[in-house]
Each structure stands twice: as structure tokens, then as C-alpha cells.
Subunit: 160 residues, 2 copies
């Protein structure tokens, strides 16, 4: 029956049966809530926002994205990203240029100053990452990342 999903809506397990600390979305929200709050606090002291640093970080590895693509990569609303980009452009950290072969599209690139700016903050992000995975060995990290990649494929709306 095509309507099977709706004819029996009762989930196979309750949250109590799974257990709050065994329910992966809950654990991930707890972890990322803490991580993002910590990063935000540290960046604020340096006059930056998470969105700006994420934008610089993404552009160091994937240059030449459009604003639409960048919003997905940087996990940000396009309107928030627009404002961040204006400020990053004014600071000389990013520049925009027409995409070769399609002049309607504007690509965003990092400048050398933008690359240096990200390097300064990468130190902080990397240190937090190391603390998070302190007692997680190399094989376990690799397995963890492999599962995350599967889950991202199952979750995302875009093919990147």
C-alpha cells in the first residue's frame, strides 16, 4: 500500500526506549550547541562572527562559489550571508568576479588578506576540534567521519 507510512504512524521505539543519550540527533545538538557557543564567544572578542569565519574557511577550500552555493556550504541563510559578504569585501578579505562562460553569475573568491585572516582563526577552531576528539583514536575518528558523510548524504537537499 502506498499509504503504509501514514496508516501506521506509531514509531517503533519511544525516546525513552532509545534513551536520550543514545539518540544521535540529541547528542549532536548538545555537542554543536556547545561548540558553536564557544567559537562564537571567542570570535566576538576578536570582532568577528561565526558566519564570517565559516565563509572564509569554506572559500579557502572551495574557491569561486556563488552566494547561493556558499549559503549551503556555510550553513547560513542567504540574507545573513549577504551582509557578512559585504563586510568581508569592505575589509578586503573577499572579492567577487563574473564566472567565466556565464556572466550572470558572480563568484566569490578569497583574497590573500582573507586567507591570512582565516589562518589566524583556524588555530582556535583546530584547538577546539582536538579537545573534542581528545580520546578518540585515528581509526575511530575515520569511522565516525565515514558515518557522518553517509548521514549528510541522507539529510542534505543539494548534491554537495
Amino acid at each position: 500500500m502506498a499509504d503504509d507510512l501514514h496508516s501506521d504512524p506509531k514509531p517503533a521505539e519511544s525516546l525513552g526506549e532509545i534513551g536520550l543519550f543514545h539518540f544521535a540527533p540529541y547528542l549532536m545538538n548538545r555537542i554543536m550547541g556547545r561548540y558553536n557557543a564557544d567559537v562564537q564567544t571567542s570570535l566576538k572578542q576578536q570582532g568577528l562572527t561565526t558566519v564570517k569565519v565559516r565563509t572564509l574557511g569554506v572559500l579557502t577550500v572551495v574557491p569561486g562559489l556563488t552566494i547561493k552555493e556558499l549559503a549551503v556550504y556555510a550553513v547560513t541563510e542567504q540574507s545573513t550571508l549577504s551582509r557578512a559578504l559585504e563586510s568581508l569585501e569592505a575589509a578586503g578579505f573577499v572579492r567577487r568576479q563574473e564566472r567565466e562562460g556565464d556572466r550572470r553569475l558572480r563568484e566569490i573568491h578569497l583574497t590573500e588578506a582573507g586567507r591570512q585572516e582565516f589562518e589566524k582563526h583556524w588555530q582556535l577552531l583546530y584547538a577546539r576540534y582536538q579537545t573534542m576528539f581528545d580520546d578518540v583514536g585515528e581509526d575511530e575518528r575515520a569511522q565516525f567521519v565515514a558515518t557522518l558523510q553517509k548521514v549528510l548524504k541522507n539529510t542534505r537537499l543539494h548534491d554537495f
Copy 2:
């Protein structure tokens, strides 16, 4: 030297060397950004917020928390949680009572109506969870959750 951490601030790897799609905090932010946006959209249609449903969910498994404890469990600012609790109390979904042995503390408990309300929304959360972990087998899920629990211990400020 006590100052070793600061005397050599250069991270061992760059983001480019690790790879954006191999950097666990990035993958987790991508996944949870999508998951939370989807859940928020579905709940909004039913006149609820993520914070309210999280609060109900946490209380189904850990009854009798104080507002301070609940803020940590529900990954929410205390001020936001306060407003959510007022609304949940007015709807008859939670009730407050003095903690036995310490009358200064007020515990928050779910009512039977609150429990039924959460059950209605758990169906949605559970379905999203199943989609996320669609092609992740039982052993892989267990390993993934075990790693998440380690990472939460390394990240959190409280002992719960």
C-alpha cells in the same frame, strides 16, 4: 614548559589538508543545520517551536529538572526557555513543584497532556532520525553513538 601551547600556535594540519568533508565539526553543523531547519518548519505548521518540543522530550525521560538543568539538556538559553515554559504551563503541558528537601528549588514536570503532546511530535522526529540513518547498520550506529558520547564528555561544561 607551561606555555608550550602558546609558544607554538601553528596547528598541525590546515583545513585544506584535513578536507572540509573530513572535518567532523563542519559535517555535524551541516547535518544539524538541515535537521533543525526541517524540524522547525514542520513544527511551525503545528504552532509549536523546537524549544518547546525539546523541553517536552527531555521531560519525558528526565522528569523533575530545574530550569537551569533543563536549559542545558534542551540546548537553550535560559531566557528563551523561561518563555517557552510559561507557554507550556498555560497550555497545561507542564507543571512546577517545590523540590522535596529544598523548597528554594522548583522542579518542572510533564503533565499527562504534555506527554501525549510530545508523542504526537515524536513521530516526526523519529521519522527524520530513521531517514538520516537510513543506510547505517545497527553496529555502525552503536559505534557512532559511542563516539558521540565521548565527544559530548569532552565538550560539555556540566557533568550531565
